[in-house]
Amino acid sequence: MSVGSDIAAAGTTPVAAVEGATVRYKTVVALDGVHAEFRPGTTALLGPNGAGKTTLLSLLSTARRPHEGTVSLLGEPVGGRARTRRVRERVGVLPQTFGYYPRFTVREFVEYAAWLRKVPRARRVERTREALRLVELEKHADRRMGELSGGMLRRAGIAQAVVNEPALVLLDEPTVGLDPAQRVGFRGLIKDLGERSAVVMSTHLAEDVAHVCDRVHVLLDGRMRFTGSLGELCAQAPGAGRDGTAAEINGSTVEAGYLAVVERNGNEDRP
């Protein structure tokens, strides 16, 4: 993949932004004055365990509010019951551990998610069908959720997250637990999503980032240590061209760039 395409894919208007966000769990600071913007396209959140990726996603999903700083979604600051509801109608979330009701069929479950996401009643059936088509689960729509394989479950998870045509899709470690073939298929799906919405994907897997993402944020110890395009991340690696234009973008170069960011900031954890 060439470096130029990632920058071109990134839009200009931020769909979501956090300004100086700080979140604490008792005495632990999970996020420490984080600034970040998320634009149309697919953005990776990279960082070791405990870096604050899931906490940042929870801010973007409005599940949590920062102790300090602000979060803006779709052009307005989050806060207040009515505004939060309105914003949530345009957000889709797939958590790292995707919970589902095993006795529901896939179609019923996605319809239930459409109800939760306040898809208008007249469009609920149609949107469910569309979401299942997008994730290629139409043939399995009448199977029970409990009968699905891990890859199918992840697809069903994506379907529930996009059934409301969200402007912002939040995916927390979406490819964890998938076999290599499933992961390859899943990358294509996420890339497609990035063409419709702003996708923010937290991950440990440099290979996924290389194939799917346009931009990268690196979080370390609750602080944002890097923000830029994939090419710019790869260019952080020792020996790479500083402008990134000469670097090949693949799993190895993404990992090398990430490690360079980590080492520069004194953290030895690997993605």
Binding site: A63, R88, V93, L94, G99, Y101, P102, E111, Y112, A161
Partner: protein
């Protein structure tokens, strides 16, 4: 919401628990023997029977099922994404509540159909009472709402069985302390309403409003506490206020002892159902007209047994009915199905002369020291070829002596005994 509700009903646990409740309820109601039942034939009692079973057994089970369903979002970790959706916590709880409640209504309807069907097969009137059933349905809704609230707020595996046991234990406690005001807020109407009573419609409807409003208010509570889900709007105040008003009213209602809280004495009928045989007349509540053939046979026997005797009652009115005359005796009818033999026994018992209420019993030495009224009763029953109780050899000998006396002497002794008993004096010497 309809499709989602149907999905929830089809896939949730409530349907299976409702099926279990239905099977238990059908067995309970269908296996009852009309000969010994205290409800088959009385519409009041049939309604109460369904209400009590619905609330104590089905309500407890459905509350447990609702708690189990409500705790699944934690169990299955769906809360991780469901709590980021715009749908408020109240509608989410209402969805679970409605699914379980609708299933319970289906079960309730089946049980009602059986109870009323069996009653219709006995009773000659069609007068089903609906208000106790309405209250039962609302109370079940309250129990289910409590299950949803508990399961959402305490999403552990033990919450569901605890909720089921909680309701069952509560009703057991209230059964032993029916005068507790709390019993009015959690009504399981374990009363005996024969045809002399009718439902206290106002109270039952106020209680229905309380249960329904409290159920709705209760389903809003988890959304107030759950972090992440949008909280209920001001609309949630409406059921809370209705529940407060209706619940407060229930706690202030007073009933003179020993009248039941949930029933009123029925108005006197314009035309009681009466039979007359010779000089003997018996009047029943119109709802008990299916008992008229048995009452007619019993009246014939009583008329024959009493013959020319004086001092005995020959006019009878069923409990609660206005006496037809000054000498009319109350005829208790303990159950809706009685054969002629049982009715005769009741009527003979009612025909006996009654001593004044403050009269001490007169013990009859010749009858083994038992009260003389016992001997009069035994003689009357023996004349009707009804079994007389055995109180020992001396009592049996005294009885034999009266029965072997010439008819005129026996009649004279019985008439004299009736006169003395009413005057609170010892009976005359036994005939020679």
């Amino acid at each position: 919401m309809t499709r989602v509700l149907l999905h929830e009903m089809r896939r949730g646990e409530a349907g299976r628990v409702a099926l279990l409740s239905t099977v238990a309820g059908v067995w309970y109601l269908a296996s009852a023997d009309p000969a010994t039942s205290d409800w088959i034939g009385w519409w009041n009692q049939a309604g109460i029977k369904v209400q009590v079973f619905g609330v104590i057994v089905m309500g407890s089970l459905m509350s447990a099922a609702a708690a189990w369903s409500a705790s699944r979002s934690r169990r299955t970790r769906t809360a991780l994404w469901a709590d980021t959706t715009p749908r408020g916590g109240w509608p989410q709880a209402l969805l679970l509540w409605a699914a379980a409640w609708l299933w319970s209504l289906v079960a309730y309807a089946v049980m009602t159909a059986i109870a009323f069907g069996r009653t219709a097969s006995v009773s000659e009137v069609t007068d089903p009472v609906w208000t106790p059933l309405l209250l039962g349905a609302a109370m079940t809704g309250l129990q289910i709402a409590a299950g949803v609230a508990a399961g959402t707020l305490l999403p552990t595996r033990i919450t569901a069985p605890v909720m089921g046991l909680f309701w069952y234990a509560l009703f057991v406690v209230l059964a032993f302390a029916p005068d507790l005001p709390l019993a009015h807020l959690f009504p399981a109407i374990d009363d005996h309403w024969d045809t002399a009573f009718r439902p206290h419609t106002t109270r039952l409807l106020v209680a229905t409003a309380w249960c329904a409003a409290a159920a709705l208010a209760l389903t809003a509570v988890p959304a107030l506490v759950r972090r992440g889900v949008p909280s209920p709007g001001p609309l949630a105040v409406v059921p809370a206020v209705v529940a407060l008003v209706a619940g407060g009213a229930l706690l202030t209602f007073r009933t003179p002892h020993p009248d039941p809280f949930w029933a009123l004495r029925a108005e006197q009928p314009a035309r009681p159902a009466c039979v007359t045989e010779g000089r003997t007349k018996a009047c029943l509540w119109p709802d008990d007209r299916h008992l008229l053939p048995a009452a007619a046979g019993a009246a014939r026997t009583v008329d024959r047994v009493l013959g020319p005797l004086t001092g005995f009652h020959r006019s009878f009115h069923e409990t609660g009915l206005r006496p037809a005359g000054p000498d009319s005796a109350e005829l208790p009818v303990p159950q809706p199905v009685l054969d002629e033999r049982a009715m005769t026994e009741l009527m003979l018992g009612a025909a006996l002369p009654k001593p004044p209420s403050d009269c001490e019993p007169h013990l009859l030495e010749e009858a083994g020291g038992y009260p003389d009224t016992f001997l009069v009763e035994a003689v009357v029953h023996s004349r009707a070829r009804q079994p007389a109780p055995y109180y020992g050899d001396r009592f049996a000998a005294a009885l034999e002596r009266v029965l072997k006396a010439p008819a005129a002497a026996q009649d004279a002794w019985l008439s004299g005994a009736a006169r003395e008993i009413r005057a609170c004096r010892p009976v005359p010497p036994l005939p020679r």
